[in-house]
Point group: C2
Chain length 356, copies 2
């Protein structure tokens, strides 16, 4: 299949997936094959929203963002780490994060639920509670969906899956990845690397703590299992008069900086000394100091917002109502991503080193 | 979970599924459990579109219909009967049919594709071709989606799945299931029972013919594997000044008549002698005469339109440009569904007898 001439050759940028497929469990050559399926149909004709976290749909006088993601048991979630309801919550939160990253607020969700044979009344009851809890908490509505049983083969029940489509209106200016401009500040919400530290602990067999437990290890695991995307921040940024670029931190800071760099045609320069992370929490998940650095720079699934813009002091203060926001660098003329160390050393930052 | 007081107790009507889950392969008590998940969140707050083939979304001054369906390998499609591309085509067509049944024309589709380990370049290439072919044929666009690998456990690769969300604007008056009124004519497009006859042949191990083959058995199999929903008819009905009710024939005539009866609060009276079906094609799929009757009355997956309204001669003539349309009965005061035989005998018609 031919790739349109104006597309970069990097498969991590191509493809229809509104959010790149989670690399923590599985990745490889075949993913670019699968994603290339939609290249021609998607990218040769769409304009705004191309390669963004969500598709932009114009309906009447409104702009709606729409995103679809699938999560498969054993690939995107593990039921020895999370209950079905927790896995569904996380899947839904990652979708809400996609709409947030476009500047929208999710109004509607549609769920396709593939239920393995082992699920019975308790699982369904807790899934229903989780859905209603999320609807109340985030003000969206489940408009419908589909529920199917996944087949059992002999004594081995097959994996379940969730496929979620979310939609929400954008009031203001969509936060396109192509909106970054030289002179913009580069910002992140929340902290970096916590979810990756939690994943590392789970992979090493660390048991789950109680949700209220305060140890750094348990906080890291909670960050992985139950992310907290700053869902008011995207709509706030969209409401500002100047253009802002945004992307959610699903694949890790370095990968997302590269997306912004490529789609805006700018250089992203960030300072190691300014990156916000919780030292104890990261340390709990890492044996070696270099692992800690890798988690902060490349760890995925924090679902915080990486964004750029020119903001007034009043704007930055108002953002504080939605999330802790830290300026980590500046958009410059040029290309690529550079990392500046406290001593003045500067090096190129390649995308997603740790997860491969 | 409590069911809102104004909901009927019949689980085949309740639940969030825009289209009832295909019963031909799997159904049972657990489906009502799964569907009850969404009852409270969905039905206690939604108005128009409640229990319809698609959800109605108001955006700006427009009304859009939206539907989500999941298809799982081994449950909804079998790769010994159809190629992956054919299975995806059928899944997409059944979604386009849902939007058609609301009076809309699909403008956008989002696909979540769960690809089993066995799929490689040939499968992906043919899926891409199928998607682009459908886009061209039906004038919609794939806005995006997600592609994931389903996990392999040892030497047993897991099933694949498709989850599809479609959206389209309705120009005119949505074809709600609750729009049937006493005095309306009851109509169907196309013919009844062909897809069920084809399914019966496939289940008995009948091999597939070439798509162009003209034997009744091969035509029946083609009707099952590759449905032809009358996609212009729904938008045409929505454009008429008077209210029309519609539903797509996914579960079979008797079930769909019951949906219209319940949701409109009317009696649906149909005449056996007027039901359109292809005698040779039905006969090819059935050993016994009573099986033929069952396929016509209860066979699913024809994806034709069942609709009611008061139509002028000019309206009916114009419908002919979209599909063969046959009047099969009349909406009456009362409740339930009755079947009138040529000799004047009348009996109640229960939903979905054959498929259980």
């Amino acid at each position: 299949m031919e790739r349109p001439a104006d597309r970069p050759a990097d498969p991590s940028v191509a493809g229809p997936a509104n959010r790149p497929t989670n690399r923590h469990f599985a990745a490889g050559r075949e993913f670019s094959l699968i994603e290339s399926l939609f290249d021609e149909s998607h990218f040769s004709r769409s304009g705004e929203g191309l390669g963004d976290d969500a598709y932009l749909l114009k309906a009447g006088g409104e702009t709606w963002a729409e995103s679809t993601d699938a999560s498969v048991e054993g690939i995107h979630y593990r039921l020895d780490w999370a209950t079905p309801a927790e896995a569904l919550e996380k899947a839904l939160l990652s979708n809400l994060s996609d709409i947030n990253a476009m500047g929208g607020r999710t109004a509607l969700a549609f769920l396709a639920l593939g239920a393995p044979a082992a699920w019975g009344d308790p699982e369904f009851a807790s899934l229903g509670e989780a859905i209603r809890g999320l609807e109340r908490r985030f003000g969206f509505r489940v408009g419908g969906g589909d529920t199917v049983r996944t087949p059992s083969e002999g004594s081995r029940p097959m994996a379940g899956f969730f496929s979620i489509t979310v939609l929400g209106p954008i009031r203001g200016r969509p936060l396109l990845r192509s909106n970054a401009r030289p002179g913009h500040g580069i910002y992140v919400s929340g902290t970096l690397g916590s979810a990756a530290a939690g994943l590392a602990l789970l992979e090493r067999g660390h048991g789950r703590g109680r949700p209220s437990a305060a140890s750094p290890a348990e906080a890291a695991i909670a960050a992985h299992l139950s992310p907290s995307p700053p869902l008011g921040l995207g709509p706030f940024l969209a409401s500002l008069p100047g253009p802002a670029a945004a992307i959610d931190l699903s694949d890790g800071l370095s990968s997302e900086l590269w997306h912004l760099s490529r789609q805006s045609g700018c250089r992203m320069a960030v300072e190691w000394g300014k990156l916000p992370y919780e030292r104890e929490l990261i340390a709990a998940g890492c044996g070696r100091p270099e692992d800690a650095r890798d988690r902060v720079l490349h760890g995925g699934e924090d679902y915080q917002l990486l964004f750029t813009g020119e903001f007034s002091g009043a704007d930055l203060e108002a953002m504080g109502a939605h999330a802790r926001v830290t300026r980590i660098g500046t958009v410059e003329e040029g290309a690529g991503v550079v990392l500046r160390e406290p001593g003045g050393r500067e090096s190129g930052l390649e995308p997603g080193g740790w997860s491969h």
